[in-house]
């Protein structure tokens, strides 16, 4: 029975620190956190090699409870470890008797003395609180996956080239006058195109030349060089037009 009393006494001497997870927009249900989520208190080990890395697993009421904080005075870094959710790190100062002096928000990559919002500080005048409860602060959520662009007909319709073609088509069908004008224009341009190409050889058909089906630029530049070639080239270009 004596051992039990001693056990209980040692319980009372060391303070406990509890971190609760509030519901938020990012995390509407803290109970959905995976079981591997845990909190750690870290600092440089003291010379006596005492326990300086403390871990608290996630409890069924979505809290992390550090019971029996060992008596090592110092300033601890409190992290909540979760791969998906990012929590703000806290600074926890612990007195020589193991009681919590204060809890502040801290900023990674900033001086340790640069303390943020105060979460808890010990009441100097009043008696020490043995159970400190602070609320965790959720900063963000990691997205692990790349979103695959899904196929949708709408995205196809939004294509500017398609829109242009549709607009042109629409105009020709809507306005008969314009259509007539367009037809006339296209007839004349087709005509000029067909003849113009044959005469000037301006549009050199590189692919055809490389394939050997159409003559090189020199063949067109010198129409006198062989009548047969000239006629062939004319036919070829007309076909293209």
């Amino acid at each position: 029975m004596l051992a039990l009393v001693v056990l209980l006494l040692s319980h009372l001497a060391a303070a406990s620190l509890t971190i609760t997870i509030p519901t938020s927009n990012l995390l509407p249900n803290p109970h959905a956190l995976p079981a591997s989520t845990h909190a750690t208190l870290t600092t440089l080990p003291a010379s006596n090699g005492d326990d300086h890395l403390l871990t608290a697993p996630l409890s069924h009421i979505s809290t992390f409870a550090f019971r029996d904080i060992p008596v090592q005075q110092g300033s601890y870094l409190l992290d909540i470890r979760s791969s998906e959710y990012i929590f703000a790190p806290y600074r926890v100062d612990i007195a020589a008797d193991g009681s919590v002096l204060g809890v502040w928000e801290t900023f990674r990559g900033n001086p340790w003395d640069n303390r943020g919002a105060e979460k808890y500080v010990v009441d100097v005048a009043g008696k020490k609180q043995s159970d400190v409860v602070v609320e965790a602060k959720l900063l963000g959520r990691r997205g692990f996956f790349e979103e695959r662009a899904s196929f949708s007909p709408m995205s196809l319709l939004k294509n500017p080239m398609l829109l242009l073609a549709v607009a042109a088509l629409g105009l020709t069908f809507v306005d008969p006058e314009m259509r007539a004008e367009f037809e006339e224009q296209s007839r004349s341009s087709a005509l000029t195109g067909a003849t113009g190409n044959a005469m000037a050889g301006g549009n050199f058909d590189l692919a055809g030349w490389m394939a050997g089906t159409s003559p090189g630029p020199m063949a067109n530049a010198e129409p006198a060089a062989g009548g047969a070639t000239g006629r062939d080239s004319g036919a070829a270009t007309r076909r293209r037009g």
Binding site: S36, D79, R81, G109
Partner: protein, 949 residues
């Protein structure tokens, strides 16, 4: 805000290649492991009274508590109960009961309760005065009616003192305790609906133990009565007790006499010991006796005794009369050749025994010997089954049973209706070494090509023609498979089957338990074979060297074993030598050199172009030249007080695509490329400093050195090196007012000169030497640019992705033990030339540099393990493939995880978004359109020409 800015910038600049959701389980695989489940701590239990389906709960020999979905063998949650600080000893225990939504686990001094559904902590308690020897959930008659949390009974065994403690089901606090200071061995605790029994073993006068039963009041813990059973002739050690019944209507304690002629059974709480004669009809010596009894409170008081001989097994079923406490034999299950295991299950009060042999599974009721169900087991593994747990469901008049069986190999499989539903290879846990194996087929082709290369022109030509003619024999088969291949390639998930590009690699893994596994990364890490090479629990494999078709495993005691990589058959072994090796180095498949603990070489070697750098147990670094290695060529001793803990070098395959870095103004910074670099980590535990030294491996000169103060040397310090850069991470504490507290990652790049377009002293030199120079120390020191980042988590291991040509950007692969993940940080993010305290100039922005931020928050896209919980990883291997974009990764140590990394995205592979069918249809539609329109257009043109003329 700062965080968001950093994340945004990181996302903008680096081409992050995250995994798509539909690629999960396609390009990656994961074996989430627990370790071998403990026999008495594995149960099928319904997690809550509302749920119909039960889950499989276990605590493993590694003290990992976990819940498995019996449907597919997936791990639902797990908690590692092992503590490094706590005194070890005592088994890991787990107790659950149906519909309670709480599982109570104990390991060492700690006992904790977890929600059965999702594995969250309900309470935990630590007993500083001893280890937890036994746990039972108290099933009192009045308590079982309510569904509230059950109190538990914990037996804590200290040094010559034992405590029985009743723990509150909601808080874990001690309600009462019974202290036993008699010096007896605290053995077990058991309970009946009305009483608590504390069973201890009292040393008898001469030899053996007497069983002492102390009956306690469950409400107050007061001792009601005590009696001693005379068992000293039979029980020599606590292991001699076969069974102590847990939470049954008639808990019993059983042991056998030494000659194994009689079984002694005592109903706990009564004083008489009943003797049951063992009728051994088989004539073989009994190897093992196990007793199976239901654990449920209201089940029938029946139990089964299973006798195993070398060749076969049989079982006897006994009934207990609750009033007279008499034990009567009901029936027996016949002697069958081969192995067999028995499992107990309940449907309400009825008890069913499932007997699983190599060929069949049989279910009988405890009340009568009629067979309720019999299934033939197809393709049963031939490995010996160690034990099984089962669950019975009544289906009309018959009973359906599923049973999870642990095999000797560590495979844990579930059999339902004779079919193997799933297999979990729990033996893969604690892998100590792994390596990629080269398939033999490619090697034969390489050999043929080599022959051709060495022959005369005509000879090579005829050889080649012959080879092609020989290849023609595969043509009919190829043609036959062609339609199927086309169809499957159109319909397949992946656009191209990438297996032929070296993505289908096999890995050979050696575990601490002396087993060797081969996994196929193409088949989601399926186990191709596994073989027990050594009967040990501490197999200290130092290196695995592969040759085409075989692999040799080198162990620290100097022994080795060679296995065939396609079958796992051990082809040769070599005996251990009287050495203790810290590592084994292989230059090629023939020469291996052991390095002893003091850093010296076990054997000398003759390779003039090679050099070795070793670390010694007393914290020095030694350099060995290949020309003369009787004594070290140089020795590096870190500054006083520091001890070398780790040394790393550039990976063996580390191609450099470009020797310089082109800057925004088109000038070039030349990389300092030296293949003989070694990065040495030395720590001073007393004043918390860590030094990082960059050594030249030929001369031992220190090229660069940094020291960090206030470093926690007990936390992991990881380091890695590749190309012209190195990185390391550590936990740094506050030094002065301006310093931060947290984990840091330092990246350094080495350049030949600080000035662009300048190669320093090396510019004009045709050759250079590390040792002989014009002006003493000839090798110029590199220009080192460093930047350090504060990172949110510790890094326990670092690796670098390796690709075939090294053109692809590298990723720094970091293992995060705290969040059980692996991330790949893109190198551009870790560029130490990022401008500090100013925005980049346009030239710098062109280079891809962006503003430095001290905090490096890990982007979710960097997580190559994404949402998986990959814990216990010790090493990550990277291997190039034939595709430049892709590197295959394999992580082992606790869990086993494999994936493909594409640091610059899969630029040479068509992704899943590429739809072959759509492309074909588009081409067909266009062809159709052209065929339809062409005559029309031609006609119109002809008409036009006529009209014009």
């Amino acid at each position: 805000m700062r965080l968001q800015a950093a994340l945004f910038l990181a996302a903008c600049v680096s081409p992050v290649a995250a995994i798509f959701r539909d690629e999960v389980n396609h390009i990656d695989f994961h074996h989430a492991l627990l370790g071998a489940p403990s026999p008495d701590s594995t149960f099928f239990v319904k997690p809550s009274s509302a749920s119909n389906a039960s889950l499989l709960y276990t605590i493993s020999d590694k003290s990992i508590l976990g819940a498995i979905n019996p449907r597919d063998g997936a791990l639902l949650w797990r908690q590692d109960l092992s503590r490094s600080d706590a005194a070890t000893g005592g088994a890991s225990l787990l107790r659950t009961s149906d519909g309670n939504n709480a599982v109570v686990g104990a390991a060492g001094q700690h006992i904790s309760s977890w929600t059965a559904q999702d594995g969250k902590l309900i309470w935990e308690n630590q007993f500083k005065d001893g280890v937890v020897a036994d746990v039972e959930l108290l099933e009192l008659e009045e308590a079982s009616k309510t569904s509230g949390p059950r109190d538990s009974l914990a037996l804590v065994a200290g040094e010559s003192v034992g405590f029985v403690r009743r723990l509150d089901g909601a808080t874990g606090s001690v309600k009462w305790e019974h202290k036993d200071e008699s010096g007896d061995v605290a053995f077990q605790v058991s309970s009946s609906p009305t009483e608590v029994f504390y069973i201890s073993l009292q040393s008898a006068l001469l030899k053996g133990h007497k069983v002492k039963v102390t009956v306690l009041d469950p409400v107050t813990g007061r001792q009601i009565r005590q009696h001693v059973l005379n068992s000293e002739n039979d029980i020599a050690t606590p292991e001699s007790v076969l069974f102590v019944g847990a939470n049954v209507a008639s808990p019993l304690i059983a042991w056998a006499d030494k000659a194994q002629k009689a079984l002694k059974v005592n109903i706990i709480g009564t004083k008489q010991v009943q003797t049951i004669n063992i009728e051994n009809a088989s004539g073989h010596e009994i190897r093992q006796i196990t007793i199976h009894a239901p654990h449920k409170l209201n089940s029938l008081p029946h139990f089964l005794v299973h006798y195993v001989t070398d060749n076969g097994a049989w079982a006897e079923v006994y009934h207990v009369d609750l009033k007279s406490a008499a034990i009567t034999r009901a029936y027996s299950l016949p002697y069958l050749q081969g192995q067999s295991v028995v499992a107990t299950s309940n449907i309400d009060a009825n008890v069913y025994f499932t007997r699983i042999t190599e060929s069949e599974a049989v279910v009988v009721s405890s009340a009568s010997h009629g067979i309720l169900g019999r299934w033939n087991i197809e393709d049963s593994p031939k490995e010996r089954a160690l034990y099984a747990v089962s669950e019975a469901i009544s289906k009309g008049k018959s009973v359906v049973v599923r049973a999870a069986i642990l095999r000797e190999s560590g495979a844990w499989d579930l059999i339902r209706n004779g079919q193997t539903e799933w297999v979990r290879h729990e033996g893969l846990i604690d892998a100590v070494a792994a390596t990629w194996i080269e398939p033999q087929i490619q090697e034969s082709l390489a050999h043929e090509l080599e022959v051709e290369g060495h022959e005369s022109l005509v000879g090579a030509y005829t050889h080649r023609v012959k080879r092609h003619i020989r290849d023609l024999e595969h043509l009919p088969e190829w043609l036959k498979n062609l339609p199927q291949r086309i169809i499957s390639s159109v319909l397949a998930d992946e656009v191209t089957n990438l297996d032929s590009f070296g993505l289908a690699k096999s890995v050979i893994i050696a575990t601490k338990a002396g087993r060797l596994y081969a996994l196929n990364t193409a088949e989601q890490g399926a186990v191709a074979w596994s073989v027990q090479v050594e009967e040990t629990s501490q197999w200290d494999v130092k290196s695995i060297v592969t040759r085409p078709g075989e692999a040799t495993i080198y162990v620290s005691d100097g022994s080795s074993a060679t296995v065939n990589v396609s079958t796992g058959e051990v082809t040769s072994r070599s005996a251990p030598k009287n050495v203790k090796l810290q590592s084994i180095i292989s230059f090629d498949s023939e020469t291996t050199i052991g390095v002893q603990e003091d850093g010296s070489l076990a054997t000398t070697f003759e390779k003039s172009e090679e050099l070795l750098v070793t670390t010694s147990a007393d914290g020095r670094v030694l350099g060995w030249s290949g020309r003369d290695n009787k004594s070290p060529a140089w020795e590096f001793v870190p500054p006083s007080g520091q001890k070398v803990i780790h040394a790393t070098s550039r990976p063996a395959h580390d191609p450099v695509a470009s020797i310089g870095k082109v800057l925004g103004d088109r000038s070039v910074l030349y990389k300092y490329l030296n293949s003989n670099l070694a990065l040495v980590t030395a720590v001073n535990e007393k004043d918390h400093t860590a030094g990082f030294y960059l050594l030249d491996g030929v001369s031992g000169n220190v090229l660069h050195a940094t020291t960090h103060d206030s470093v926690d040397t007990t936390q992991p310090i990881a380091s890695v090196m590749s190309e012209n850069w190195f990185a390391y991470s550590f936990f740094g504490d506050v030094l002065d007012e301006s310093s931060a507290k947290g984990y840091q990652l330092v990246v350094s790049e080495l350049y030949e000169s600080s000035i662009p377009n300048d190669r320093g002293p090396l510019d004009a030199a045709g050759n250079y030497s590390s040792i002989h120079g014009n002006s003493g120390d000839s090798l110029p020191l590199p220009h080192v640019v460093s930047q350090s980042f504060v990172i949110p988590e510790p890094i326990s291991h670092m690796a670098v992705t390796q690709t075939r040509q090294g053109i692809t950007t590298r990723q720094l692969i970091c293992t995060l033990p705290e969040s059980s993940s692996i991330i790949g940080i893109p190198r551009p993010v870790l560029d130490p030339r990022r401008p500090v305290d100013r925005d980049p100039t346009s030239a710098e922005a062109e280079e891809g540099l962006f503003r430095y931020a001290p905090l490096l928050e890990f982007d979710g896209k960097w997580y190559i393990t994404h949402a998986r919980d990959v814990s216990g990883i010790k090493t990550v291997l990277s291997q190039p493939t034939l595709l430049e974009s892709t590197s295959v990764l394999f992580a082992f140590g606790g869990d086993v995880f494999g994936t493909r990394a594409t640091p610059s995205q899969a630029f040479d592979v068509l992704g899943k978004s590429f739809n072959k069918l759509q492309l074909v249809l588009t081409v067909v539609a266009l062809t159709g359109g052209v065929a339809f329109l062409a005559p029309m257009v031609r006609k119109k043109q002809v008409n036009l020409l006529w009209k014009a003329n």
